[in-house]
Structure formats: C-alpha cells, structure tokens
C-alpha cells in the first residue's frame, strides 16, 4: 500500500519533469541563453591574462580562485567532522593506551 503510493507520486514527479523539457531550449544550440557574454569573455581573454591553454584551469585558479579556496576549506571540514566522530588513531604503549 505504501510502496504503491510512493510509486504513483514518483511517476507524477517524473511526468512533470519530463514535461518541462519542452519549455527548455534544446541541447547543444549556439544561441542558448547560457552562452552569453561571460563565457565569451573568458574564452577570448584567457590567453592574454593568464598565458595558459586550459581555460577551465585558468577559471578555477585565476579568475575564480576564491571559490577554490572555499572548497579546500570544505575538504578540511569533512576531515575534521569524520575524525571528531570516529576518533583518530590509537597509540598503544606497553600497558596503557591513549588516543591522540
């Protein structure tokens, strides 16, 4: 009973999502609204500003380097969270043991 109710609701959700594809602009068109002047500026001025060939590397380490700094903070926070739950390594001495 509960599983069939979940199936009906999810089928309705899938129908609504697939119906919204007809409202979106098609896949792979050059006149998409997402290809406005911001990627064009990055693609034209990447070599003059940074002298590198990989445009994505110059975006994440030069134009938007602050987001990469925030993301290394996220990695650091995940390590802190896991160590605080599980406890870091156990050091065994001869007759007593302590966590460090």
């Amino acid at each position: 009973m509960r599983k069939s109710l979940i199936l009906i609701v999810l089928a309705g959700l899938l129908f609504v999502l697939l119906g919204s594809i007809s409202e979106m602009p098609g896949l792979g068109g050059l006149e998409n609204p997402s290809y406005n002047e911001v990627p064009r500026h990055y693609l034209e001025h990447a070599i003059d500003d940074t002298n590198t060939a990989n445009v994505i590397a110059s975006i994440i380490t030069d134009y938007r380097a602050f987001d990469t700094l925030g993301e290394t903070t996220v990695l650091f926070t995940s390590i802190t969270a896991v160590i605080s739950v599980l406890g870091s390594g156990v050091v065994k001495f001869s007759d007593k043991e302590e966590k460090h």
Binding site: K3, I6, L7, L10, L13, L14, L17, L18, I21, S22, M24, G26, L27, G28, G29, L30, N32, S34, Y35, V38, P39, Y42, L43, A46, I47, A53, N54, V55, I56, I59, I60, R64, D67, T68, G70, E71, V74, L75, T77, S78, A81, V82, V85, L86
Partner: protein, 125 residues
C-alpha cells in the same frame, strides 16, 4: 506522442531526470542505511549530468584554446568549473554519512532502519 527526434536530441536531460527519480525511490523505500547513502549519491550524479550538459554546443571543441586559430567555437567552460566544487562537496557528505553509520552499528548492532526504530521504541518503555 512526441516525435522521436525530440527524444534523441535531449537524451541528456531525460537521462538526468530518470536517474534522479531512481535515486529518490531508493532513498524512500529501502530500509538498509547503506543503500540510502548510495541513493543520495545517484541523485547527486544526476544533477551533475544535468548541469554540465547545459553548456554543450554541437560540433564544438573542448575548451583548450589553440593560439593561432581565429574563429573556433568552444564548449561553454563555466558549468564544468562550477561542478568541480560540487563533486568535492558530494564526497565530503558521503564520507560523513558513512562514519555516522559506523557509529550506529556500534551502538545498535544492526543497520536496518526498522530494527533500529524497534529497539529505540522498546527502550522508551
């Protein structure tokens, strides 16, 4: 029905939505905690696919610019650069959820959700 060429042209978006609903079904119905974490991972993968295929341009090249050519069309590099951060966030959430499952197993002895709720219900009485 809609014509076949519309389905085949937008196959990326359709695949992303179907994967999303499959992941949501896995989270809602299975009582095992590990399968729920896998369902959350499937949902995150579908969102990455949807976001990156927004920037696709047909017949264009990968965004590695060559210096001496003038009028080449490149794929939009901006959604790919944003998804790199999203992938790292997904990995962090999976690691934390798995560590919580380890602690739950130590405390209750099982990782099925209905058995944990039953043990929790008995402890209240």
């Amino acid at each position: 029905m809609i014509n076949f060429s519309a389905i085949v042209d937008n196959i990326n978006y359709i695949g992303a939505f179907v994967l999303f609903v499959i992941g949501l079904y896995t989270v809602l119905t299975h009582p095992n905690l590990l399968k729920r974490v896998i369902g959350v991972n499937i949902m995150e993968t579908s969102i990455f696919l949807f976001f990156v295929s927004i920037g696709y341009v047909r017949g264009a090249q990968a965004p590695i610019v060559v210096k001496l050519s003038g009028e080449l069309i490149y794929v939009n590099p901006l959604p790919s650069a944003m998804i790199l951060t999203g992938i790292v966030v997904a990995v962090s959430i999976t690691a934390y959820a798995l560590s919580l499952i380890i602690k739950l197993h130590e405390s209750y002895g099982t990782i099925e959700l209905d058995e944990i709720l039953k043990k929790e219900g008995e402890g209240i009485d």
